[in-house]
Amino acid sequence: MLKYILKRILYLIPILIGVSIIIFALKTFTPGDPARQILGNSASEEQVQEKREELGLNDPVPVQYFNYVKGIVTRLDFGDSYRTGKPVLSEITPRLWTSAKITLGAVIIGALIGVLLGIISALKKYTAVDSGVLVISMFFQSVPEFVIGLVLIMVFAVNLHVLPANGIETWQGYIMPMLCIGLASVASYTRITRSSMLEVLGEDYIRTAKAKGQSQNNITFRHALRNALIPVAQSVGTNLGNSIGGGMVLETVFGVPGVGKYIVDAITQRNYPSVLGGALIIAIVLTIINLLVDISFVLIDPRLKTTIISGSGSKKMKKVKPETAKAA
């Protein structure tokens, strides 16, 4: 087990190197001189050159990259924001908590609604209710999140005055962003719950339980649901990634000071230390969460040890079906 955890953590290293290389390459190819941007347009050519020297922009790209990685490894230094001059890490950390709270809430909302709808449609398979559920869950997958966001603001803030239009000064401010991001993932949870419920309901032990005369509710919730939820929970990792992506747009809509808005702003301002730092930190967080999800499964249900720990290739196969990721 420990060996497995260690292996997974080590596996994080090539991913981080890869992510940093990709963003670093994009940074290098992006037109525009960061030094000129920091100093403004009235700066003279000499000053710009001086700044370039100071930022190490005159070094060959591999050297720049090496220095950047060295800074992270030796000093946990992700560079300084071009905009504020402050260390990227210290800017991101408080935002990470904000985003974490919202994403967690969103996952809970999305999973709760999704699982509930999934159960309903599995129990009422091939009926009007079933297709009704399909339409509802798909509706939220078919409308851009920011449209839902703006409509929610209009209804709950402007017309009903029950929730703040933007910002997270009070706890009420979290409700709409969570709801918005959560609703977008409902369809995927519904689908997984439905299919795994149907699968489990057809298993021998359920039939045995039925034969033994257990009540329908008892069967559904004590036996079927427990087993059916495993693939649902395993998909949390994938959905989390999508939720973080969705958060990038929605944090802008709701004026939430999270990592997503930070990165969106940084990209538009060509503030590459912040983009790089943000990308790496998101990659780390995603990987760690996926790891935690997997580990907790092994702890809860030792039978899964074989599926999860034995090779990622076969795991992917058994892990329900591949999902089409929702955009953004």
């Binding site: 090539p14 991913i15 890869g18 992510v19 990709i22 963003i23 994009l26 190819f29 992006t30 037109p31 297709s131 399909l134 339409v135 798909m138 509706f139 997958q141 078919s142 409308v143 851009p144 999140e145 920011f146 449209v147 703006l150 209009m154 402007v158 369809a187 439905r194 299919s195 149907l198 990634g241 973080i244 992506g245 990038m248 747009v249 802008t252 990165i263 969106v264 990209i267 538009t268 060509r270 983009v275 943000g278 990308a279 998101i282 990659a283 995603l286 990987t287 290739g313 992917k316 196969m317 079906k321 591949p322 089409t324 990721a325 929702k326 955009a327 953004a328």
Partner: protein, 302 residues
């Protein structure tokens, strides 16, 4: 698929015998039969067909030129003359949305095809060859997947600038890992089948194997994702337009029209309503279609 001799089958066979050409029960035909039985899927297909017709006949349907500005009729609410109202330039929103069908669908199609031929192909290669090739490709895709799609797309647009080809490239790169993963899974399923193993045993060449046997058999699953991905591309485009990257005016892409209207949400909601509805209907149709295809091609999946 083992054939069973049922009375229904016999009837079909008799019917086929009357035809000039014998009816062959291919996976495609079987799937179409299953698809036809699914009403929501049919609705999806019909809506998509209507959208394609709108796109093709846009110049005939649109009452105005999508670019023509009319300063005497700026920001008018929906009326008999302007069904969907006019925008801040006095342009007819209905005409813009009709032409927008063309742009949005074609761009989405290009994005999906591009993603399929990069990410999808990598997935097929990874799935077929397995071993070290698989590991290398999929680890590479893991890296790409660690960057949120919208962030990746934004960074690429920052490098390439605004424009349709640039947007296609951005969405292609961003969606590569998902495409690769899906296609790999599809190939892996087929790979395990007996007939592939037996053709391998009799020494069929590799490219022939992939093209002749594996892709057609995995095609069903791939088509499912293809339909789903069209919806994803449209959503991505609109999200990017919202942030202000991707396409430039006056392209009548729905995301851009929506973004124009967003500014007038409280004062002129119709400006945002109609493009939002078009995006919704289209994505909805693609998703319904995808769902139907899933049932049709892969009954076990549901």
């Amino acid at each position: 698929m083992a054939k069973m001799q049922t009375p229904a089958m016999e009837k079909i066979q008799k019917k086929n015998a009357r035809r000039k050409k014998a009816y062959k029960s291919t996976p495609g035909r079987e799937s179409w039969k299953r698809y036809k039985r699914n009403p929501t899927a049919i609705i999806g297909l019909v809506v998509v067909c209507i959208l394609i017709l709108i796109a093709v006949f846009a110049p005939l349907i649109a009452p105005f030129n999508y670019q023509t500005q009319d300063y005497g009729a700026m920001m008018q609410a929906p009326s008999a003359a302007h069904w969907f109202g006019t925008d801040q330039f006095g342009r007819d929103i209905f005409s813009r949305i009709i032409y927008g069908t063309r742009y949005s669908l074609v761009i989405a199609l290009f994005c999906t095809i591009a993603a399929f031929f990069t990410g999808g192909l990598l997935g097929i290669i990874a799935g077929y060859f397995g071993g070290i090739v698989d590991t290398v490709i999929m680890r590479l895709m893991d890296i790409f997947q660690s960057i949120p799609m919208i962030m990746m797309a934004m960074c690429i647009v920052a490098v390439l600038g605004n424009g349709i080809p640039q947007l296609v490239a951005a969405i292609m790169f961003a969606s590569m890992p998902t495409m690769a993963r899906n296609n790999r899974a599809a190939i892996l399923r087929v790979r395990g089948c007996d007939y592939i193993e037996s053709s391998e045993a009799i020494g069929v060449s590799q490219p022939r194997m992939i093209i002749k046997h594996m892709i057609p058999n995995a095609a069903g699953v791939m088509i499912i994702f293809f339909a789903g991905f069209l919806a994803v591309s449209i959503m991505m485009m609109s999200s990017m337009s919202y942030i202000g990257v991707g396409l430039a005016a006056p392209t009548p892409e729905w995301g851009l029209i929506l973004n124009d209207g967003k500014a007038y949400l409280t004062s002129a909601p119709y400006m945002m309503l109609f493009p939002a509805m078009m995006i919704m209907i289209t994505c909805f149709a693609f998703n319904l279609m995808g769902d139907g295809l899933r049932d049709a091609f892969d009954p076990k999946m549901k």
